[in-house]
Symmetry: C2
Subunit: 374 residues, 2 copies
């Protein structure tokens, strides 16, 4: 069975070795309940209520879309960073430089979601005014899934691209020295009757996660192109493949995109990039929490006024879906389609939270005197 997904979860670049949550065993949790509990925990950890609400909403949105690696699973990571003083949950993003169609913000090492949502709000406003805009953010932290931001812009009628860098985990193509994160990029494009086209991928072939799971399952081989061994040699042996030597998707072509992400999200924002540290945070190298990100926006009305673009997006989406499927493929998918479908199901039926995650959330809540799930 060929996977025809046009969009996959962005692996968490902060801890690619974290194992995926086990399969759920108890009743699904309504999204609204999970949002309230997550917000309560974040608030108890020091986030002002509006920031706690924003962050919780985005984490639960990832759970709704089936991108569990970027959902409430991340609460533990955020809690440990807040407690270690590496993430400042009350910090507000501020504008460093305003050029009209261009903006540079400083996230102050606050919650990435707060800086990310403010950046997208400004992006949509400036794109409407100028037709095209760019918002760059330095001293951001973990953003969660990039699709949450680009999709918001698309739902406001703006074509949006997003690039984000991070700690030094992955070597360049053909090299051994860690310089890059999994360097995700995302885009979203508004449609008319169809949901927006939403793309959100790491520029590595897979997350370290997937390799560790293959080992745990005792798989005899992993697909070609996932990871190298510790000497940078391609391998399909799960035991020899190294989570510190993930490969770029499509080899040098994916690597070239990772370089673009690093140059825009890291260098252009004045954030950390490659081995260069430029942050107030004391966490460095592969422990680096400071991330840079850049949003680009385009207003299609400046090119095809009267909604002509969104109608054309509908047309292409339908042409793709109507393609005759290859042998062994059920249906041909548009980027983001699976996540849209999963969201509809989980909004109706609740989120199938793994027992271990449910317990972890309840434990944080109890420790902090916040309401739990049960």
């Amino acid at each position: 069975m060929v996977s025809a997904s046009g969009s996959v979860p962005t692996p968490d670049p902060s801890h690619p070795a974290a194992p995926a949550p086990p399969a759920p065993q108890t009743a699904p949790v309504p999204a609204e309940r999970l949002r309230k509990v997550a917000a309560g925990i974040l608030h108890a950890l020091g986030a002002p209520a509006p920031y706690a609400d924003q962050t919780a909403a985005l984490l639960v949105e990832a759970d709704l879309r089936g991108v569990d690696s970027h959902g409430t699973h991340l609460l533990g990571l955020y809690a440990s960073r807040i407690r270690a003083g590496h993430l400042h949950p009350a910090a507000a993003p501020r504008v460093v430089r305003d050029g009209g169609a261009t903006l540079l913000l400083d996230g102050g090492l606050g919650l990435g979601q707060v800086a990310g949502l403010e950046a997208v709000r400004l992006l949509v406003d400036r794109t409407r005014r100028h037709g095209v805009a760019a918002v760059a953010v330095r001293e951001g932290t973990h953003l969660g899934a990039l699709a949450a931001y680009t999709e918001r812009a698309a739902r406001a009628g703006v074509v949006c691209l997003c690039f984000q860098n991070g700690p030094t985990l992955v070597p360049p193509h053909g090299g051994l020295t860690p310089l890059f994160s999994t360097n995700p990029l995302s885009y979203a494009v508004p449609a008319h009757e169809e949901p927006p086209v939403v793309y959100d991928v790491a520029t590595t072939a897979v997350a370290g996660n997937k390799l560790l799971l293959a080992r745990k399952r005792g798989d005899a081989t992993i697909p070609d192109g996932w990871a190298n061994d510790t000497r940078g040699r391609p391998t399909t042996d799960p035991a020899a493949a190294s989570v510190d030597h993930l490969r770029w998707f499509g080899g040098h072509k994916g690597f070239g995109l990772a370089v673009l992400v690093e140059l825009l999200a890291g260098a252009l924002t004045g954030s950390c990039f490659g081995a260069t540290e430029d942050t107030a945070s004391p966490a460095h190298g592969r422990e680096r929490v400071a991330k840079g990100f850049v949003f680009l926006g385009l207003d299609p009305e400046r090119f095809l006024p009267g909604g002509g673009f969104a109608a054309r997006v509908d047309t292409l989406v339908r042409e793709i879906r109507a393609s005759e499927p290859a042998d062994g493929v059920d249906r041909v998918l548009v980027p983001g389609q699976l996540e849209h479908e999963r969201r509809a199901v989980r909004e109706a039926e609740g989120i199938p939270l793994p027992d271990a995650l449910r317990e972890e959330i309840n434990q944080y809540a109890a420790e902090l005197g916040a309401p739990g799930l049960d």
Copy 2:
């Protein structure tokens, strides 16, 4: 030996099945001589002298960079299209809509290079004025290598992205219905002391070209991921693999980028996209000559004034090159590095033109009463 190239030639999306020129057998041709002869041929075919000069310069630039598939090899394609009335060599690009930071041009089915260079000239000007800009072009034709345009913007200090669509050759990921071209994308980023970082790739894994050559050589297998069979099933058998079923680089991740290219270059410009025709040209479907393209520009001075960005690009370029190479890899490369190196060699030593191409060029020149190479 692992190939560590960070940038590869964009395969010609107009005829992915064209075999590569054979190895050269005669003395290299000085670039200046080749430019004059190519310009003479284009002028004799009806291009005004400045358009002939511009187009010849870009073709020879691709030959200099070693991207032979996009060099003077294309003269034959252009000649046949001009003679068939599908390409109007005297047509001038015109501005359809001017929003300041955004521009829509119509290429009038003229030489792609003429519209492309005008688009980049406008992009650089508008990016300097607004900090960010977008120039979209409809009714363009074959552009040659996209790197020629993005690199020009980068040498003028502008971060530049370019997307281009084309005829319906390649099915969506998991499908069988041809809807896309090889949908190339390119970026270039200005550096300070280093040459700009230049990336230019097709979103398909390889050109049909490479598959045909593997067959000719009698290779037992082709790498996984190059192409499917005619039922869309992955194959490593060169005989079963179909040039009409090329795979996207990195599977669904590359496909998602091809969708972005189609939506920006095709739909946003008001050009042809997917199965939808929107052109004055009578050449349709896989014979389509009309292409759309979009350039995005960013002025790094709006984010890091005083040349701070270019200095940081130098730093990352040097960090990548200084990475310890993987076993079996000679050196770790930055996107565009090989092409910069080849250009320096060929500017000094001349361009090693294959005999068959030399003869073809001389034949066109003789037919048209223009000066030949000998």
